[in-house]
Symmetry: C3
Subunit: 256 residues, 3 copies
């Protein structure tokens, strides 16, 4: 059965670029099922896009081909790759977009290949000329091998993962979402089942974790969001407006 192609880009929605991906996929496969994951990644923000790739892989856990195009290096020598992790496949420039997808998969259940870039691909628009067509090829077939040379070293962003030092975890804000919640690189698995004693950042702190947004009385609270990452949220307002951390700021967790 044909799997949906889910786009994740920084193209925005005000130009023809986003729809051009659907057009390019349909040229390969007129029955391709195209879904807009999001085109709202901040321009060039590979870490933010890697997080949304993870969130969408969870949302389409039944199987999907993610087509991730945040590609400041388009037209240069950077590789194009495709990754398979469980039932999810992902086509992307090799710049770290698959960081969570790759690292959070079992080594027995993940593969990566290098994707050829045709000589006549526009040097400014590999999304249309390389990634979307390749995604359309993948979405209509189960086989993943023999699509390119196997590689085992996709680029992984070091900054995508929290560091642990004793009872202290240090991460940073990877995404500020539409509601102003500051989503960090600190994940539920990083907590190891231990209690959170405090969450701190330059100029602010939250005393521990709450279960849901409505449990935040006033000011700020920390909770585990829907993709399993610790986030700092305000009560009916953007976290940053209530003294929360900004995109990129360091956040520390003290475990109990």
């Amino acid at each position: 059965m044909r799997q949906p192609i889910v786009f994740v880009t920084d193209f925005g929605r005000d130009d023809a670029y986003a729809a051009a991906l659907t057009g390019a996929a349909w040229r390969v496969d007129p029955h391709a099922i195209c879904v807009e994951g999001t085109h709202g990644i901040p321009p060039g923000d590979v870490l933010g896009a890697a997080y949304q790739v993870k969130a969408l892989a969870r949302a389409f856990a039944g199987g999907a081909v993610l087509c991730a195009v945040v590609d400041p290096g388009v037209g240069t020598e950077r590789r194009a790759i495709a990754v398979k992790a469980g039932r999810i496949r992902c086509v992307a420039p090799d710049n770290g977009l698959v960081s969570y997808l790759w690292e959070e998969s079992s080594p027995d259940d993940r593969w990566a290949v290098r994707v050829d870039i045709a000589r006549d691909a526009s040097p400014t628009f590999h999304g249309r000329d390389v990634f979307a067509p390749f995604a359309a090829q993948l979405s209509s077939r189960e086989r993943f091998d023999s699509t390119g040379d196997l590689i085992d070293d996709p680029v992984i962003l070091a900054g995508a993962f929290a560091q642990r030092d004793g009872t202290r975890l240090t991460g940073r804000v990877a995404v500020v979402d539409h509601f102003g919640n500051a989503i960090t690189t600190i994940r539920d698995v990083d907590l190891g089942g231990r209690r959170v004693r405090s969450v701190t950042w330059r100029g602010g702190a939250a005393p521990g974790l709450v279960a849901t947004y409505a449990d935040i009385d006033t000011g700020l609270g920390a909770l585990i969001g829907s993709a399993g990452h610790l986030e700092i949220a305000g009560r009916g307002a953007a976290a940053v407006a209530a003294g929360g951390p900004h995109l990129g700021d360091a956040v520390e967790v003290e475990l109990g």
Copy 2:
């Protein structure tokens, strides 16, 4: 025949939340037809969403399952409901989102049920774990009864409807649309076929109604918009920039 699922949320389009609804619907029904009504409701604005639910019910008058998720109370005790009004069904938290849909339907042709919330639903994301899956269940079958306990008291927003006092109607601005038009809670049916002598708000007035935007010479005009609500519009500019009312401001109509 399968009806489309039309989403109405305040999720924005820059994260994975909106697409996650489609993923969740497809997990229930791989052939679900998912449409983005809008994900651009101002965060937490239930009245604005209730208006867009009405507008989309008109736009998909042949039949649709609206899935409305503006849900500041997610994770609390508020009910989840489904409403049927003619050929439109709507799944939503019970906070007033169905105000127009319910009140503008004949009592003989509307039903509401309470929807169960699974214990393992994420406390932060009922859109994905409750509303979208239930919408997918409804969209592929005609039957509406036996889906939950019947209720007859969905929450209705008092502020969604204009008050009448003699020849005076008092409403307020429910939505400021993309063009800056200030759409009020005063509806064509509220006019009762009578002439509009004046439309006033704090600091401004329009002398009566015009037929279309191009009829506004200079400054501001009032007209009945495409969903049957009185709106105040500027000539090629946002109404508020020309002295029009803001979101939430009171607006009065004097009938002839």
Copy 3:
């Protein structure tokens, strides 16, 4: 085979207007394939929309019905038209939206017809009541004639095309895209295969053309973008922030 309907409007995505087009198309043809080209044209910007119509015609070169609705004159006497250019058909108000589509097609391979406007069409929303339904009629059949009276004079925007004076081309910025690139009305075909010696605008200049964005070292560069128009781009930043031209500004090219 049914062709996709691709919408191009200035409706934004925060109201029900955009989705209402899909609803209206489905009322005519429940199997219509609706694609959001873009709803992000600046309000009333016919030239910007004409450019996106061209870009989307390229992106859906296998065939599509574009439904372009940037329509400040809705409800007035302006004509509604449909154009066929090769495998692309386009339904639009007759205000210049088809400028590139018409002028860049061979006179042997283009047709235009006048589209009837039903008397009961809402005077404020021809997108829903005229253009989307007509697009749905076209998308499911090959025939284009006998859909309306043939015309040969669709409105063409004079400002959509660069002027040539000896070795000098003068155009202007038609679109500033999501990345801040300033896309001009100067096209690769206007260069006639000659070398670009300089690109200048009030207060700035670029020395010639580069091949791709990553070739811009610092400051600004000029290149031919993915739809064949000359654009001025910044290195990882909006062109205007680095001294580039604004929307509407004149741009000159000196040919070698």
